[in-house]
């Protein structure tokens, strides 16, 4: 957790410095544009540095709850995140209706659900995608796999 705290604080500081720096040196925004970002960015830098110092020293803050990591290891987190992220290429390559249904089918099967449950739920998702989002809400969902759009 300590490493995570330090990494997060450091990343936050880098992000703020990069953005403020971009505003100053790349975009050359005038003062009236940068006034508020300077103020907020300055506050964030101060607080971030304070936090970073505390994190390095292992300081425990008032009101801090006990650490309760969501995942047991980095490996488990990576696997879980990869599974969730996999929906993106699925919908991009196959289109939303097919992509979501196929993603769900594969997910359920790999995670121990039976064929019947998996197929029923995937088909239900397909029906919801089509009838609720495409027909009723008239959302312009990408329907077709890439390269196959009519």
């Amino acid at each position: 957790m300590k490493i995570f705290e330090i990494a997060f604080s450091a990343t936050l500081l880098l992000f703020v410095v990069a953005i403020i720096g971009a505003g100053m040196f790349v975009y050359n925004y005038p003062l009236n544009v940068m006034r508020f970002p300077y103020f907020v960015g300055g506050f964030l830098l101060l607080m971030g540095l304070w936090r970073l110092k505390g994190a390095i020293q292992g300081e425990r803050l008032d009101g801090e709850r006990e650490a309760d990591p969501t995942t047991e290891s980095v490996g488990q987190f990576a696997r879980t995140a990869a599974w969730l992220l996999a929906i993106l290429p699925a919908v991009w390559i196959l289109g939303y209706p097919a992509g979501i249904s196929l993603y769900l089918l594969v997910y359920f099967l790999v995670h121990g659900q039976g064929w019947l449950t998996s197929i029923i739920l995937s088909l239900a998702a397909l029906a919801v995608t089509y009838f609720v989002f495409i027909v009723f809400l008239r959302v312009n969902l990408p329907l077709w796999p890439i390269g196959l759009a009519p």
Binding site: F4, V40, G63, Q76, Y96, L121, L137, V139, P142
Partner: protein, 499 residues
């Protein structure tokens, strides 16, 4: 007496079969849009808007208002059982509602949330009707300086008093403000930090941000371990008795309910601030004055009652500037305003002189919709709460699909879906490290109000803008709210010393 006769006239005006049917059709619509993460209340109103063409004013507006009034009622349900706010203002309910669900007390949490929502909505309406004859002077009390301080109060309050350590709350709030600085800013006319991307011309979007911060971490949790939401609990069934226990809790905390609803109604009056601020301010105020503040964030029923009472009360408040000046009191009201114009009506200073009866009728529509929605959801609560017992490996991918579809549907931009995951990474880190995601969201949504109103205040009034009477009251309330525990301790020590 005139007040009661206004109320009763308004009530009778609305008790028509056609109006009741319209409300009964619109309410489930609003509830579902509130309940499903990613489907925003604005989308619901945008879909209903074309239907009002050609309708009479009261039925047409009733259609829109009934759906709108119950969106946060639906949103509270997903906030509690999934830890994903149905709408950004429901994020405050996640703080205690979701822990309650994990403890198997989801039914109780829902009962409390639904009853608070229903009764809070009625409170907001009662306040609205009471001040209808004097709406204009009330709205005119709040100018840009007051908007600035209220917005600042919202962020400061939740950052200092909300979940997690104060230092981290302040960082999260400031980060939310910083993220909101991207894109077009009306004061300067320059799109800041847009990095050459059309997407960032308008900055980051609230739906991907809110879903990323709240939904993705919960989906990781559900998916990683495969356990249900209520895995901490031995209870295998959620009963109607549990739901009703939650309802009764609202009546056991009358002061909390009235205080939170009052905060909602008052803050709702200020355009641009009320929508997201009031539930967080109510939550923070509840925590500050509770006998057991240490329970907040761990499943305190007070932490559910406060934001939900305030959430629906604020909609009555948001109608105030909408009717008095045609200034939308919330983003939903902006759409409603469009509805007024489509129906040939023009809210504004002259509106209530000619259409007081319509104004009261609309207030009654809000009250009745809140009551009906709460009643319907209370009856269904125990069934909906069973979702907390679904296995994580089933619930997670289904929710993910809904989040992806709902996010795309909001602006029909595929990049929004990508940003859900980017913000999801941020949300995961914030959650693991005990930073307040609520403070970040609030900072994000209030930045425009803060920056614009500060700019206007300085241009119009100079540096002494904070010396206006209402501004001073708000500053005093903010200071009191933050320092209350210290004051309480000092008073307690003095009493102990004296005795």
């Amino acid at each position: 007496m005139e007040y009661f006769s206004l109320l009763s006239d308004g009530f009778l005006r609305v008790m028509r079969p056609d109006l009741l049917l319209i409300m009964l059709a619109a309410i489930p619509f609003g509830l579902i849009f509130g309940l499903v993460p990613g489907l925003s209340g604005l989308t619901a109103l945008a879909i209903l808007l074309p239907f009002i063409y050609g309708m009479q004013p009261l039925p047409g507006l009733a259609l829109l208002l009934s759906a709108h009034a119950v969106i946060y009622t639906g949103g509270s349900v997903s906030a509690i059982i999934l830890g994903i706010p149905g709408s950004p203002p429901n994020a405050a309910t996640v703080l205690d509602g979701f822990p309650m669900a994990r403890q198997g007390r989801g039914g109780e949490a829902m009962g409390a949330a639904l009853a608070s929502s229903g009764l809070g909505g009625i409170f907001g309406v009662l306040v609205l009707v009471a001040i209808l004859p004097i709406l204009e002077p009330i709205v005119l009390l709040f100018g840009s300086p007051e908007t600035f301080f209220l917005a600042l109060m919202g962020v400061a309050f939740i950052a200092v008093v909300g979940e997690g350590p104060m230092q981290k709350g302040l960082i999260a709030g400031a980060l939310g403000i910083f993220l909101a600085l991207f894109g077009y800013q009306s004061v300067t006319g320059v799109p800041r930090f847009w990095l050459g991307s059309d997407y960032l011309l308008d900055g980051f979007r609230i739906i991907p941000l809110a879903l990323g911060l709240f939904a993705i971490p919960e989906l990781i949790a559900l998916s990683a371990k495969g356990r249900s939401v209520a895995h901490d609990s031995d209870e295998s069934r959620i009963t109607f008795a549990q739901v009703m226990e939650g309802v009764r809790q609202v009546f056991r905390h009358p002061l909390l309910f009235f205080k939170s609803s009052a905060i909602g109604a008052v803050v709702g009056v200020v355009p641009g601030v009320g929508g997201e601020t009031s539930p967080f301010v109510a939550y923070a105020a509840a925590k500050q004055t509770s006998k057991h503040p240490e329970l907040f964030g761990k499943g305190s029923i007070e932490g559910v009652i406060a934001p939900e009472s305030s959430n629906n009360a604020k909609e009555g408040g948001a109608l105030v500037p909408t009717l008095a000046f045609g200034i939308p009191g919330s983003t939903g009201m902006a759409l409603l305003l469009g509805g007024f114009l489509i129906l040939g009506l023009e809210p504004g200073p002259e509106f209530l002189k000619e259409h007081m009866d319509l104004g009261v009728g609309l207030a009654m529509v809000v009250a009745i919709s809140n009551l009906l929605a709460a009643a319907v959801m209370i009856l269904l609560a125990r069934y909906i709460a069973q979702i907390t017992h679904l296995k994580g490996h089933i619930l997670a991918p289904l929710l993910l699909a809904i989040v992806v579809l709902g996010t795309f549907a909001s602006k029909q931009n595929p990049l929004d879906v990508v940003y859900v995951f980017i913000f999801g990474a941020l949300g995961y880190a914030l959650k693991e490290l005990n930073y307040s995601r609520a403070a970040l969201i609030l900072g994000f949504v209030l930045t425009n109000a803060i920056e614009s109103s500060l700019h206007i205040s300085l241009r119009s009034y100079g540096w002494s803008f904070w010396l206006r009477p209402v501004s001073l009251i708000i500053i005093a309330l903010l200071a009191l709210g933050i320092l209350w525990p210290v004051i309480k301790r000092r008073l307690g020590a003095r009493k102990g010393g004296a005795s």
